[in-house]
């Protein structure tokens, strides 16, 4: 598989911080891959995703992107990037329809294409019946699903998901994961962070374990479990990152 993102010696240190949030990270994500980033709270997962999708500037190091046999700068790639942040990134005063129309229009998608895409997405995330209700009135699971749908409105080649299933019920979680499987089958590369280790075991092709800004392990789940002689991801995380509590 072709490399989609190549990260070399990446460092991110926030202003006035006493240590690096990302500490000399080297990583390659392949095209069409479902890549999971796991680690305890404050490990640097969200910072890494924010740097990868251009929200944060790295302090040093290099991130290069390669799609459709071309090297691209992040600015060129952004129209084809989907981003689903951990926080709800939509307008609660607007309906799902209005939110999707707005973000879709910002990507410059034509009205007819956008209308069809919105219908399909609302169907896929199970919000068609409430498409004209204000999102602010939705349950946590419904909000997660509209948050995801907005991230997919531009049919991204590269999708970043930061804890997309946090705080949702089993039904919403299953719906979200199955939608992600579907879009991955259509060729979208997915980079995913989560606390749900079972999800990672079922969903990700490869995973990277990150702690204190460093990548401490990277491989397929089976290889990692075998190499560390543990039976599941939870035991693997405890073995590699320890039991002490994190801030």
């Amino acid at each position: 598989m072709e490399v989609a993102i190549h990260i070399t010696d990446l460092v991110k240190r926030y202003k006035n911080a006493d240590k690096n949030s990302l500490d000399h990270i080297d990583l390659a994500v392949h095209q069409g891959e479902k890549f999971g980033i796991f680690g305890p709270n404050g490990a640097g997962k969200t910072t890494l995703i924010s740097v990868l999708c251009g929200i944060l500037e790295p302090t040093s190091g290099k991130v290069s992107y390669h799609f459709d046999s071309r090297d691209l700068a992040i600015r060129e790639l952004l129209p084809h990037v989907g981003f689903v942040p951990q926080d709800f990134a939509f307008y609660p005063e607007l309906t799902p329809m209005q939110n999707l129309k707005y973000f879709g229009a910002l990507y410059g998608i034509s009205s007819t294409v956008l209308a069809a895409r919105i219908d399909r997405l609302l169907e896929q995330v199970g919000l068609n019946h409430v498409k004209d209700k204000k999102v602010g009135t939705f349950s946590g699971g419904m909000k997660r699903r509209i948050n995801l749908a907005i991230g997919l409105i531009n049919q991204p080649k590269l999708l970043f998901l930061d804890e997309p299933t946090v705080g949702v019920d089993v039904q919403s979680k299953v719906a979200i994961v199955s939608l992600l499987e579907e879009i991955n089958r259509d060729g979208t590369t997915i980079i995913y962070t989560s606390h749900h280790l079972k999800e990672a075991e079922d969903f990700c092709d490869r995973i990277a374990l990150i702690d204190e800004g460093k990548i401490i392990a990277i491989d397929t789940l089976d290889q990692l479990l075998q190499a560390n002689q543990v039976s599941n991801l939870e035991d693997l995380l405890i073995r590699l990152t320890g039991k002490h509590l994190r801030d």
Partner: protein
């Protein structure tokens, strides 16, 4: 263009959803303009249209006390109630109990006192001309004062106006008395008719006219002052709606998503400015229309529009842009909605106070007038006063236009710098 309109539509929906914001932007200025204009108009009528209730206790044993009361009644400024049975120690409490704003105590020897003054002056004058000998046996005036009591809630400017009216009436009474005495001392029974006639005719006329640069002379009244002043105040109060809206978007994560959509952020700011420019101008239009068409039905003076309509549009747009830029600046720098609302509202109130929205700048101490020049509201109101009260020439408006452009530019520049530092632009 499609992206821009989508963004504008979103801003309109967000604004309409913010019920408090809508009320603040439209209802608050309407209420403010109505209430302040009615209050100020009543205050104007109070001193100009025989509305001031006056309590008089006349203890004078002569005729001048009655003459003074007649003059007070005829002046058209007072509604006089006489209560001659009251004593001076009762008068303070009676003033309040009878809901009078002012009370006058005419002392028992008021006429005798005036006569003594007149006699002395007449003797001085005639002896100076050598017509009579200086008479040292004349009764010396005691300078017993006329006493005035006023309700402590009466504002200083009203009290001074009333005292000034009273002094004028007293002076007229005294002058007449002095002349009578002078002619009497010269052997006349009374002032000859032709002299009385010529005194009446030789009174210096005063014609007052507003100093304007245009040909039209709008009549200054409470509407001409209040409609522009409170419209500007309300316009700048958009800091609550727009500034808060900006902070909210930043904190809820929508801005984070926008950072991953190329070129969307400047568009979002531009669309916010467009929508709030429309809101500000519609605010002005509504208030101006109320002043023009509704105020006369309520007995309030009608708002007279300036002749220079283009200048009115320019000043309105520049004022709105200054208010929008300030709101965006506050929304960009504030870390929370509470900060934006609190600082924004207080800063606008201070700007309004030092900018001459509440009281005219010229009555402030010199240092405050100087500080007031920093207030954008000062320049906005200056612009509108030039338009609505002073003829509205372009040369007179140039200072306002330059300041508002500079203020808008400075706010925008600081906003861009802050947003760049936060990686939004």
């Amino acid at each position: 263009m499609k992206k821009y309109w989508a963004s504008v539509q979103k801003e309109i929906v967000l604004f309409l959803n913010d019920k408090v914001g809508v009320l603040l932007m439209y209802m608050m200025p309407i209420l403010l303009v109505f209430i302040i204009t009615i209050v100020q108009n009543s205050a104007f009528q109070l001193v100009s249209e025989n509305r001031l209730d006056l309590l008089v206790v006349n203890k004078d044993t002569g005729a001048q006390g009655d003459s003074l009361i007649s003059m007070l009644k005829m002046s058209g400024s007072f509604s006089v109630e006489e209560a001659n049975n009251l004593q001076i120690n009762q008068l303070k409490s009676e003033t309040i109990d009878r809901k009078k704003l002012i009370a006058i105590w005419i002392p028992p020897h008021f006429t005798a006192e005036m006569d003594a003054q007149a006699g002395q002056m007449s003797n001085n004058m005639l002896s100076e001309f050598g017509a009579v000998e200086k008479d040292s046996t004349l009764i010396q005036p005691n300078h017993t004062p006329l006493q005035v009591f006023y309700d402590p809630v009466l504002q200083e400017n009203f009290r001074l106006t009333l005292m000034s009216s009273l002094s004028t009436l007293l002076e007229g009474l005294q002058n007449k008395n002095r002349l009578n005495r002078l002619f009497k001392d010269m052997g006349y029974d009374e002032i000859p008719a032709e002299i009385q006639q010529s005194m009446q005719n030789s009174r210096q006329l005063i014609v007052s006219e507003p100093a304007t640069s245009g040909e039209a002379s709008p009549i200054p009244n409470s509407t001409q002052h209040n409609v522009p002043a409170w419209s500007i105040f309300a316009m700048f109060f958009m800091v609550i709606s727009l500034g808060g809206n900006l902070v909210k978007e930043r904190l809820t994560g929508s801005f984070v998503r926008l950072r991953t959509i190329p070129g969307s952020f400047p568009l979002v700011l531009l669309s916010k400015m467009t929508v709030y420019l429309f809101i500000s101008l519609s605010q002005l239009m509504i208030l101006f229309a109320l002043g023009k068409f509704v105020f006369p039905f309520l007995g309030l003076p009608e708002l007279n529009f300036p002749q220079n309509v283009l200048a009115l549009i320019v000043i309105s747009v520049l004022s709105a842009l200054a208010a929008i830029s300030y709101a965006i600046l506050i929304g960009t720098f504030a870390k929370t909605q509470e900060q934006s609302n609190g600082f924004g509202a207080i800063s606008i109130i201070i700007f309004a106070a030092i900018g001459g929205i509440w009281v005219p700048s010229f009555i402030m101490p010199e240092y405050l007038q100087f500080i007031g020049l920093l207030s954008p509201l000062h320049w906005c109101i200056e612009g509108f006063y030039i338009l609505f009260l002073k003829g509205g020439s372009w040369s007179a408006l140039s200072g306002t236009i330059i300041y508002l452009l500079l203020f808008t530019f400075a706010c925008q520049l600081l906003t861009v710098m802050k947003m760049r530092s936060q990686n939004y632009l």
